[in-house]
């Protein structure tokens, strides 16, 4: 009986969705001249979808994810340039980013217990993540300036191939290799995130967003749960950071600025924070608009403001869900009309 009561969603839409994603991630970059933009969308989608698990699903507003992205990318870059030219630096970088996420999450969630007002709890997270942004900015600009390249950013990364095993190497200048790596990793991580979001844990996330106290008296340690989700999203941000470095060969301290992460919030709101694929649609729209509009005018921010105002006023659920519901509604209306017509 429970099988029918708590039945799983049918699988085929997800299989189709995954096939479409696989096409976009693995084939599209080779079929278009806008390959750089497509790669950007892929990496950023991964980043925002991870971020949205904390922001949209669990209701944790953080401006610190750029920090984890950056720590991971810088660690990989610095270690590769100064220590070891092999892929071993990548897991170290991801681990560093994730660890930073754990520490930031621990500090900001520790005091945000359920008896603290919800607005204050969100403020703690925002403020501590801003603090993390300043601290890492300082660390990479001053004590580590020699390695990080300070304001110039990390230079010289892609000039040498990365060793994997024996004679097997990743050629950082080969688009084919990089695009395949980025596509495959992004597909795996997004698939994994989807599994989490549709599992019981995803259900608890949505319940925590709605009312943490109630989740607490149902027997869940919400502090640990939120910290776990936060660390998980930091991990995804770190993976995205490492991929970004591999793809572009460059990273600058700008990513530590909390304004950088605030763009993620914008993307999630634009695409739809309640939908799993929302942030990906948001990312695509955001980056394409940015690309197109910046080529005409320098005041890209103004257009973004207009888009934001429009989406807040008319699309509170985001553009993503609307893209699926609008055609359905149009078809329904059309079917209804054709039913009425013969009379």
């Amino acid at each position: 009986m429970e099988e029918t009561l708590f039945r799983k969603q049918p699988r085929y839409p997800w299989v189709i969705g995954y096939a479409v994603l696989a096409f976009i991630f693995l084939a599209l970059p080779f079929l278009t001249t806008y390959d750089v933009l497509v790669e950007d969308i892929i990496i950023w989608s991964l980043f925002t979808m991870g971020f949205n698990l904390a922001f949209g699903f669990t209701g944790m507003v953080s401006l610190g994810h750029g920090v984890f992205f950056g720590v991971s990318a810088f660690t990989v870059g610095i270690l590769t340039l100064h220590w070891n030219r092999s892929v071993v630096t990548i897991p170290i970088g991801i681990a560093m980013g994730t660890l930073t996420g754990f520490v930031v999450g621990y500090i900001s969630l520790k005091r945000a217990r359920v008896d603290v007002h919800k607005a204050l709890r969100i403020a703690y997270l925002v403020l501590i993540s801003i603090a993390a942004s300043y601290v890492t900015m300082y660390i990479f600009l001053t004590p580590l300036a020699k390695y990080s390249g300070a304001e110039m950013g990390l230079l010289g990364f892609p000039n040498h191939p990365m060793r994997v095993l024996g004679n097997l190497e990743i050629d950082l200048k080969s688009r084919t290799q990089i695009y395949v790596i980025v596509g495959v990793v992004a597909l795996i991580v997004i698939g994994w995130l989807h599994r989490i979001a549709s599992s019981p844990a995803g259900l608890i996330m949505r319940a925590v967003r709605e009312n943490e106290i109630r989740v607490g008296f149902l027997g869940y340690n919400t502090f640990r749960f939120k910290l776990l989700v936060y660390t998980l999203t930091a991990f995804v941000a770190s993976v995205a950071g490492a991929l970004y470095l591999l793809r572009s060969g460059f990273i600058s301290v700008d990513v530590f600025d909390f304004k950088f992460t605030s763009e993620l919030v914008v993307i999630c709101l634009l695409g739809g924070r309640n939908a799993f694929l929302g942030p990906m649609i948001g990312t695509a729209i955001f980056l394409i608009l940015k690309d197109v509009i910046s080529s005409y005018t320098a005041s890209w921010g103004l257009f973004l403001a207009l888009v934001l105002i429009f989406s807040v006023l008319y699309l509170p659920g985001g553009i993503g869900p609307m893209m699926f519901s609008l055609p359905r509604r149009v078809i329904q209306r059309w079917v209804k009309k054709s039913e009425i017509a013969p009379r």
């Binding site: 009986m1 429970e2 009561l5 708590f6 359920v114 019981p200 259900l203 608890i204 949505r206 319940a207 709605e210 009312n211 106290i213 109630r214 989740v215 607490g216 008296f217 149902l218 027997g219 869940y220 340690n221 919400t222």
Partner: protein, 230 residues
């Protein structure tokens, strides 16, 4: 089962429970009655750990729990049904009942059947967002969510609110059946309902117990007239 001894508790620095002593035994339905603001809800919240214990003890299954966080108390087998229809409105009825069941697998089927026999309407609303349910249905869902894990102690705040009289009576007969496994503590404003369903009654006044006894004793002692209809 549950023992409160000289419990002082409150919200931050303002104390609302004073030297409260109360107990609920296995196989018992106990009601707390009293006027508005005497501390009925606060008592349940203190047991659940939602307000701070200042001094005194709370023992559950003969273990001291007053220092435990809320979620640990929940795991010990306490379920709390708040009076504000504490459901999650943005997820479906099914998902609301799913959340407390994650991790308990064994008797899931029986428990859900029990819930359906009690509130058949929930089956019709199964895949509907809980926020779209009517007030009474939301109340049913809240009670169902508490019952579905078959807790050792079920605490209900104002069950009569929003439920039709026959639904309340239906609940009561189920509570009576469950009694051997699930002791029940009810905070209730409707004296008639409380007297109908309970084995024992506590009457609260100004944050402590003014009178307690069996339903017969309460009737005999004219306690209702004395402490409630002042």
């Amino acid at each position: 089962m549950l023992e409160l001894k000289n419990l002082n508790a409150g919200y931050g620095s303002s104390q609302v429970l004073f030297d409260l002593t109360m107990d609920v035994k296995q196989n018992e339905i106990v009601s707390i009655i009293g006027r508005n603001g005497v501390g009925k809800t606060s008592t349940l919240k203190a047991v659940m750990g939602l307000i701070q214990t200042m001094s005194g003890s709370i023992r559950f299954d003969s273990a001291e729990i007053s220092a435990l966080p809320t979620y640990r108390r929940g795991r010990l087998g306490m379920a709390y049904v708040p009076d504000d229809r504490g459901i999650f409105v943005n997820i479906t009825t099914a998902e609301n009942l799913r959340i407390p069941l994650i991790g308990h697998k064994a008797e899931k089927r029986d428990n859900l059947e029990l819930v359906f026999s009690l509130f058949p309407i929930l089956k019709e609303r199964w895949n509907q967002k809980a926020g779209t349910l009517s007030g009474g249905e939301q109340q049913m869902l809240t009670i169902a969510r508490g019952l579905v894990v078959r807790p050792k102690l079920l605490m209900l705040d104002e069950i009569s609110e929003g439920l039709a009289p026959e639904v309340i009576m239906n609940c009561c007969s189920v509570f009576n059946k469950l009694k051997p496994e699930t002791a029940i503590l009810i905070a209730e404003q409707d004296v008639r309902v409380a007297m109908e369903i309970s084995d024992r009654v506590y009457i609260m006044l100004n944050g402590s117990v003014a009178f307690h006894g069996t339903v017969a004793q309460v009737k005999q002692g004219q306690a209702i007239e004395k402490y409630i209809h002042l």
